[in-house]
Structures are given as C-alpha cells and as structure tokens.
C-alpha cells in the first residue's frame, strides 16, 4: 500500500462514487423489480394518460368552438400526405423497374473482391 499522499480531491470521491453506484444499482433494481413498484409506476402512467386524454378532449372542443383545426385534423392531414408520399414512392419504384437509370451517378466498384485468405 502506498504511503504517498493523494492530492487529487477526486481520488477519494472516485472510490466513494464507485461503491455508491454499485449499492444503488443493486438495491435500486431489486426494489424496482418488485410488483409494488410496477403497480405504482403504472398507476402514475395511467393517471398521466387520463389527464392527457381529458386535456386532448377539452382542447378539441375549444378549437372546434373557435373554428380552428385540432390535433386530430392535422394528423388526418398528415396521414393523407403520407399516403400521397407512399403512392409517389410506388410510382418511382415502378419507373425504376420499367426504365432503370442509364448510368449510375458514381462509378460502381467491381464486385470481385476476395477475402485475404483467398487472394
């Protein structure tokens, strides 16, 4: 064991932190794996979702009253745009099959490489 004084203030904290981390990880995961922890977590998630659903409903009503589009309207619009994008992608794909590019944009390397053991 060295009797050299340690001038690095982080030196002691390093050892302490390492022990603390081990302890918290061990006991923390043990605690979090218990059914009671899962129940509490899901109860909180459930409450948050309930609040979110209620807030969505209220916002939709307020926006409708103000004659403004709601989140659902934007989602529907997004879905329609997505469907248009998908259709365009399918058309692009079909065109590639019917009329493949005359020449690739970059020169393509030969697909003839051998593994080091065979070359």
């Amino acid at each position: 064991m060295s009797d050299t004084p340690d001038f690095d203030p982080f030196g002691m904290a390093r050892g302490w932190m390492s022990q603390w981390e081990k302890l918290v990880n061990e006991h923390g995961t043990e605690l979090l794996a218990k059914p009671e922890a899962a129940q509490a977590m899901q109860a909180m998630t459930g409450a948050a979702m309930q609040m979110q659903a209620a807030s969505q409903e209220t916002s939709a009503k307020l926006l409708a009253a103000a004659n403004l589009p709601s989140r659902a309207d934007f989602e529907a619009l997004g879905a329609r745009l997505g469907a248009i994008e998908a259709t365009l992608a399918r058309i692009e794909q079909s065109l590639r099959v019917v009329a493949p590019d005359a020449a690739p944009l970059r020169p393509q390397p030969a697909r003839t490489r051998k593994p080091p053991s065979q070359s």
Binding site: Q42, G82, P109, R113
Partner: protein, 353 residues
Amino acid sequence: MASAAAGSAPSAVERAIQRNLKGLGYLASSAPVLGASPKDVVLSRGPLRLYHYHPMTDEVYRVPVLLVMATTNRGYIFDMVPGQSLVEFLLLRGYDVFMADWEAPRPEDRALGMKDYVEDFVGGSVAEVQRITGEDDVSLVGYCMGGVLSVLWSGLNHAKGPKNLAVFTTPVDFHQMTMFKAWSDQRYFDVDRLVDTLGLAPAEMLLTAFDMLRPAGRISANFALLDNLWNDEFVKGHRMFDRWSNDMLPLAGEYFRETTKQLVWDNALMEGRMKVGGRPVELDKITAPFLHVTAEHDHIVTTGASAPLLGLIGSEDKEQVVLKGGHVSLIAGPNAVKRMWPKLDMWLAEKSV
C-alpha cells in the same frame, strides 16, 4: 516520501486546472458531428430510411451487407466519427454497405405493426438492396431489436432468406429480461390503453425504462465526466455516447402493442408460436450461416435472454460469440474496434464472395 509526494502533486494539480479550463470549453463547444459518412437515402417509407454508403474501395465483395438498426435508437451508433465507425470500417474492408435506419414515427404511423416492420421495412430494404446491386444474395446484420426484426424476416422467408445472418445482442427469451417483464406486468400495465390514448409509445417513457435498469448510471456517468474533463478522448467519447443514448425514438403504437403482447407477455418467439401477419416464424428452417455476438456485461439484453437464440436457429453453420463489453460498447467505441468489428469482418469476408 516527500519527493514522491511532490512528484505526484503536479499531475493532480494540472488535472484540476485542465478540468476547469476544459470544462468551460465543454460548455461553449458544440457536440461532434455524428453519422457523417457519405451516403444516399435510397428508400424512404414511413419511419424507415435506407442508406447506401459510398464505397471506399475500388473492388467490393459480391454480397452486399444490410445493417438493421434497433427501432428505439438512431443508426449513427454504427457511424459515430471517422475511426470509430463500423460503417467506415466495413467500407474500408471492401464491403458494399447499406443500413436500415429509423426516423421518429409520425402520429399517423400509429397503425404500423410488426408486419409492416418485418415485411415492408426489412423485406422492402432487402428487395431494394437486391435491385440496386443486382445481387440476389444479401448479408443481414441486425442489432438488438433490429436483430429481432432480421431474425423474424429470415424465419418467415427461409427459402429466399439472407445469404448470411449476423445479429448482435438479440433477445429471444423475453421472460429473462426480468426488469422489462416486471414493469410490463399484465396485472398493472394496460398496453391497449396506452396505445389507444397516445398513438405512439413515447420516447421519454422508453428512455426512463432504460435508465431505471441502472438507477445510478446517469449520476455516475456525470461524475466520471467531471473527473475526466482534462482528458479530451474521454470527453469526446462521453459526448458521442451521451447524445446517442438520449436520442431515443418513440415507437409506432401497434408495433409496441404487438411487441409487448407477443414477445414480452406470451414469449412467443421463444416458445415457437410467433406469427407475423398470420404467417408462422420458423426459426428452425433458417439455413443461412448464423452468427450471434453477445456482450458479457449486457444489462439490457441479458445472457439469459439472448443465449437460447442459437439453439432455435436451424442453420448447420452457426456460432455464438460472447465478447467483453456491454450492450453498447459491444458495437461502438474502443472495445468494439478491438473486438467485435474484426470478428464480424473475419466471419463475413469468407461468406461474401
């Protein structure tokens, strides 16, 4: 003794000074640019982005490689910065590299399910790689849930499956992922309510779940950063991995619902009852050479969850390799550069002609 003490003092003092100076620099500087290897987006479908990386050699192997990223995270973990990029490593070793990466699903993507991810996204990517390269053979390389999707696609399409199938830290026995199993306990976790209310499984919820696997992880990581602020390499690595691990993606609602019900609750893949779009997944009929690389200290996909996969795959040429490292350090960072990447290259090269 006095001279020894005097000898050790300057480095500690110097480190303290450097910590302060570089700490200011850390706060003022921008994060490193990640995922910057030159590439083309060759297919864009819902949250899927299929990249084709520009080859870096004059001659490539005949069989292209398709990397399939986990659906919860961004693919730049495979392409951090030059010198620490699996993509760059494979390109320099002469592979033609593609990657199926993910963007955050949009609210209208809520209905995308397992069939879309497996058949349309993985299957669609394979078809596009075949079209671009003119090769029927493709090597499929999946990470974590990307590995699950690759295995599912191979188990559905064993007759026309991949030429080679390599996966990293891929779970199959979800009942062995004890923490996730406990948190999604059917008695308390109403997945239908979550999906029906929110549409997507929020990224924050997933990030919290991953954080809780190591409750002290975030605090100790910040302490390690403070302690090592004088060390440029450490700080650079911390910034890259910290940014990546916080950059989680939400999941499409139906996909999350099916993952929870089929994989986690029913353990259907392990029990041989897994179906995608009504078709059975037959892992025992997969014949492609198979490699499973797992990490010795993986706290997310534990050995118990990943190890049984090898026994379920039908291939005669199959191998599992356990390497030092954790769930992420297995595939990126100095540990991966030294261990996993050369192993993958050695395994793939012989099978890519």
